[in-house]
Symmetry: D2
Subunit: 436 residues, 4 copies
């Protein structure tokens, strides 16, 4: 269903204004494409505080361009609407007060049609900015421009995970899309191969040759020990073994906070799983389907991923281990199932004749054992945009790799995603690791 | 804006099927008229658990006719949709399980268009039922038919109070309607006249000559002492005096549970009031306006009404006192400002030359000091419809009189409304009483 | 175990100062007797916000005498400790700020020994006040003096119900006392006899010839219909029938708020009941014992009492009905099992040859269907003591009759006890009534 | 006030049974010494879920010896009481179910006297175990024996921080002890000196030559960059500058979760601080005193420590940085103010002529920027004792260095303490670091 340019834009954006415009239109267009199957009513719903309405996402990413690029840098630009700065600021304290996050679903006004007008208004102005800004000034703006694009791509993934949650709480279990032609499924996933890596001082983080978020910088050294990492993510079949072995019934394999969460929320399986007449069903963006045993397990919290790894006699990889393992793999092995593939759900690995790891980028975000924190020497950007990532560096856990809902051009081995350890509405799974 | 037949239907419904159809269409049409200014997005919002979305109201009242009239009594009637019994049952345990009340706002599906189709489908079937049912059977159905109409009228008022709350939490403060031509306002309300009544054994409750809800029956005797009741409700100006005298700042006049509520929720004025630059503003269905000092004070909880009455050296009337006082007043004095007047807000009394009380029916529901309970000899109806009123007879307080949002033909002196003592999103005010 | 003068004090208190002293010492001594089996540690515990520690009770009742009698009326009296006014004020806003109720259990200081010293200090001063106040001034103080004594008696019952709860949450299930010689139990309770009463205008409330709380006044007229009332309270055996018939498993017989409570708190039986190996056990002040089927059922919330009555095809009596029925019964029939009997638990009725009702006073407080409100013409006393009862007149339900923990001389047919409808740690049961 | 052997026991415990006995008695005696000023009532209180009653602490540490040493290893040992395994197990799922943590304060029984008897009973048995176990078997038990001693020492510190909280919520603000002779205070703290360290591969963790907790192992390599660390902790004066600069009034310097916490709990200063008549007071174990501007700031959450560091243009040290800096300092510089000093409160640094850092061990635990996690290669012990530290390795932050309440012999440079980032009832402060 979806497609788009995947080439790096870093150099092009400076030099080729048409390419910049094209890239802008492509990213913005993808947002529209994702929202297209949804009615104004669908786009209104906030099914829990973590979720934002589709309409809000569409306005917020637009506000980002308006606030950080147009208002300060396009001469004569007037805000589309005086209230939108308040309504569509997400969390930027430096920009000013904002509408409470859990109340985003209460805004029937502005109507969706006005949000579309807002998008068009900002798109016009952005094209002017891209085309007409003087060379030097434009060069200085490119990092913010790229941040805006990548920011919108992050929200594209969130739009999909959020609408999945919205539909999941509706007893009618609506479908977001018709499943794309079913990939030829393996009835069984390939055996896990343990891939060894030698430890030592390694370099970690983004090299700066292309766009990266602030939290991927600076590239720095760290030390790792020898380790082994699994060739593929854990599958539904393997996770069912954990369940059937009483995984959710005893404290044995759980971190203390995880076990408390299991009991308080009555967890007995990943979110979206349901057992009916002895068979397991899973709610997907194509409605409820039988669980594919060979596909990567998905929608796990960190607590569940960690408990599974202990039960399996292994552990989660550290961030550095994951990055080292991933950058040695070939891109082809890595990016089979991103948003562009159109599945919007993890699919079973094929693994035909591979030596290295598979499914590193795409299918499911993989929980690491690393708490999300600043890299040594990390410096947030100046101004409100410095709040982008830095202020969240506590209480969360890092995930790596991208998912079946990650937009084209948005996945890379240095990318650091992060969520709280009890959150599980994202496409999140795990890959095992162990000491060598 | 709104208009409709106000004559009693009890006899006509039995004999004149065309009149029954006309009444059905009028009531159903009023629902559509109330919803007309609202977009599908507006009709989706549930701003707090007490509030239901407009779309849900429209479907629920339809479900009521389908469940209690069509399914058992129209031969061959098939439900419009198999899920709607689950989605649009409000609280009837006897009918089966239902969608959780606080999650009504999460249902983007069925879309509003499908709810319209549901309404049309049920309307067609209802017209058939009304026209084609054999005489004797129809006579037996008339009470349920009238209950369905009155039930829908109750929800018409709720649609207005609920959308008012929905819009109130939107920072853009949308307007539901343009105010009707401003009534000629008095800058001051007329002085309160204290109207005396002799006590003794009195009869209370509905006489059965027209439709009444189960909780208005049976008509029965009770005893009251001599008392006096105020000629008009308390005004905004009077309530401001209470505020300015520190009414919300000290426990002195409050019931203990009321004072706890004041502190926990930080109440400093009625809901929808706001002070800006020294002046008081009030959010209305026509947007935010300056407070009219002469209009009845509105959107008070029982706690606030009770505290005001104590501060004023008076008390709230008992249910029996209110009913005795109201039935001696002439209808013209009573029904100036109901829904049909089109103000959708209380307006100042005129009181020109009146001897009796004014504004008894309309403007604001008036809190009594009576806990909501069963009349002696009360019997709920058989079947699930017996849950209509009886199971709520604890923890709530009775209100009398109707409001500026009460539909035509729906207000009467025996009508018993009831809410929890901390609720204040309805059009609720008070009238003072005192011992003779 | 416990004993004390039970004669009315109203006239004697004015004329005979020695009798007043003796009464004061008797009531105060009873408090000490109730606390005697408890260690300083036991007296420290607050097992839920509704419960107060025994130590706090002992200090608070003393504070009452100090605050309302000694400080204003004993010349030269100095407060025992400057902090105690803050620590031991319960809810009198007019007296000043106070320690938060749910934090009463956090006060290890003052130690119990200091509370004993406080009691002795106040007792000395009270004896001086009683003996030395001039005649006229004393006459004016007698109502407050009697209020202090009756206030302390109310806390005596609370000390017992509170320590029962405290011990119930201790896995060791401590015993407060050894059971007194078991009364000869009937294996079955006598059949219920339905006692008929004619309706009409009746007088209700206290006649003022002896002490009464403000909420028992004024004596006033009301109207009741013909009714019948059961000769004895509902028994454990009868309540077990309700449970075994699925009483807690379906919404059918419950008020809506009651059913919500049942589900949210997981109620499946009265508090303190536990099923083990098929038999029902009950926690009592003598530890855990097997349930006596013939004894009155106890520790019910209003919701449970009401649901049982509906299940039984009856209803709860109104306050007026209960009072009319009770005042026609002879005192001997009424007061078999109060605190002085030493059981501290309801016991089976004997009913030998009785014509009238039994167990009206004592055994269990009986829920009525009457919301707790002011009698017509009710006026709270002037000053902070006016907060005694009046400010609680919303959201609670009236109970009548006294319990096995009610002190001697403290039960009477006009007495109005009140609790929230979900509370069940008091000795609360029910007696059925029905329309004639 | 307190004193005790501080020499390492690792070798002696194996060979010299008398030394082992002496050590056991010394540690156990210290617990009694800490509890001595407290009444049975004081020892009963649980002022919040994080706090345990002193009585519970005394029983729990005893249960640890009984459960992990006596029951499995002393032939014929019978448990002191069958209920105590349930009552005094803290969190060991592998041992069985246990009393709910927030309900520890509800146990008036067993009385303190019985806990004393429990302690004596276990002490007798432990002395037998130490003296009579065969050599080889004893050698295998020594690690558990040492764990039991160190475990009790951890609870000694908690007893002090917990009773401080208990007394702090009492309006009478009791004193736990009389302050020891005031140390000669500097009116100003010495200037911070920035001590530079070269980065590279460093070794971290316990070398195994003495006792260490499992979380200090294994010793392993890691990489750090060049850094500088402050010579002393941040003082009250410096923290006041942060407050006076609006530190608590704006989101600017806070992590997002920290700022949410500040607003939700209304934080405006460290816990135990209070401003009265313009001066700052601080609640201490000697009661409320004026704030000493030169003393280390104390009772900060991680959020507050982190915000202060950002405000100061610095950051918190990483665990590895702290350990590297600390092990180069001389012991004398490090351990001025531990429990044995008797202050039970941080005191101002003297810094006379020092080159290195001061106050590294003692005064206040120092928040690092490191999330608490397993060292590479970490393996929890077999059996229930493996739950000691490992299952808490998520959501918490590491602290280093020990405090004024850390028992003698219990502080070392490899020690890893950990708390949730919002907790602040421990003696917690900070030391600044920055990139070189």
């Amino acid at each position: 269903m979806m497609d788009g340019p995947e080439t790096a834009l870093w150099p092009a954006a400076h030099e080729d204004r048409e390419a910049a415009c094209a890239r802008y239109r492509a990213v913005r267009g993808m947002t529209g494409e994702i929202a297209a199957p949804l009615s104004a009513e669908d786009q209104q719903i906030q099914s829990m505080p973590d979720v934002s309405p589709t309409k809000w996402h569409q306005a917020h990413v637009t506000w980002f361009f308006e606030t950080f690029l147009l208002l300060p840098h396009l001469d004569g630009y007037a805000p589309f609407h005086p209230d939108f700065g308040y309504l569509f600021n997400s969390y930027y304290e430096g920009v000013g007060p904002r509408h409470a996050r859990p109340a985003r679903g209460l805004l029937s006004r502005p109507p969706l049609a006005q949000v579309f007008a807002y998008r068009a208004h900002v798109d016009d102005a952005m094209e002017r900015l891209i085309r007409e800004t003087a060379t030097e000034r434009w060069a200085a703006l490119v990092p913010l421009f790229l941040l805006g694009l990548n920011h919108e791509q992050q929200h594209q993934e969130l739009m999909l995970t959020d609408i999945k949650h919205v539909f999941s709480v509706n007893p009618q279990k609506p479908r977001y899309h018709e499943p794309s032609p079913a990939p030829q499924r393996n009835s069984e996933a390939p055996e896990i191969r343990w891939l060894g890596h030698a430890g030592g001082v390694v370099e970690l983080g983004h090299d700066g040759r292309d766009f990266g978020f602030d939290n991927e910088f600076p590239r720095h050294r760290t030390w790792i020990e020898d380790f082994e990492i699994a060739s593929r993510p854990v599958t539904n079949r393997e996770f069912l073994d954990f369940i059937e072995d009483g995984g959710y019934a005893s404290a044995r394999h759980w971190l203390s906070d995880g076990w408390t969460t299991v009991r308080e929320r009555g967890w007995q399986a990943p979110i979206y799983w349901r057992q009916a007449d002895g068979a397991w069903l899973e709610f997907t963006l194509s409605g409820e389907r039988s669980l594919d045993p060979a596909a990567p397990v998905c929608h796990l919290s960190f607590y569940e991923a960690d408990a599974f790894a202990r039960w399996a006699g292994a552990r989660l990889p550290g961030e550095a281990e994951w990055e080292v393992a991933a950058r040695e793999a070939t891109p082809e092995e890595n990016a089979a199932n991103l948003l562009a593939a159109g599945h919007l759900h993890p699919v079973a690995a094929t693994d035909a004749g591979a030596d290295g790891p598979v499914q590193l980028l795409g299918d499911v975000w993989e929980w690491t054992q690393s708490s999300y924190g600043p890299y040594p020497g990390f410096r947030p950007a100046a101004g409100a945009v410095g709040e982008y990532n830095g202020k969240f560096m506590v209480n969360q856990v890092t995930l790596r790799g991208g998912s079946c809902a990650t937009p084209p051009g948005h996945a890379r081995v240095t990318y650091r995603n992060f969520f709280y350890p009890d959150q599980r509405w994202q496409f999140t799974g795990l890959r095992l690791a162990r000491d060598a």
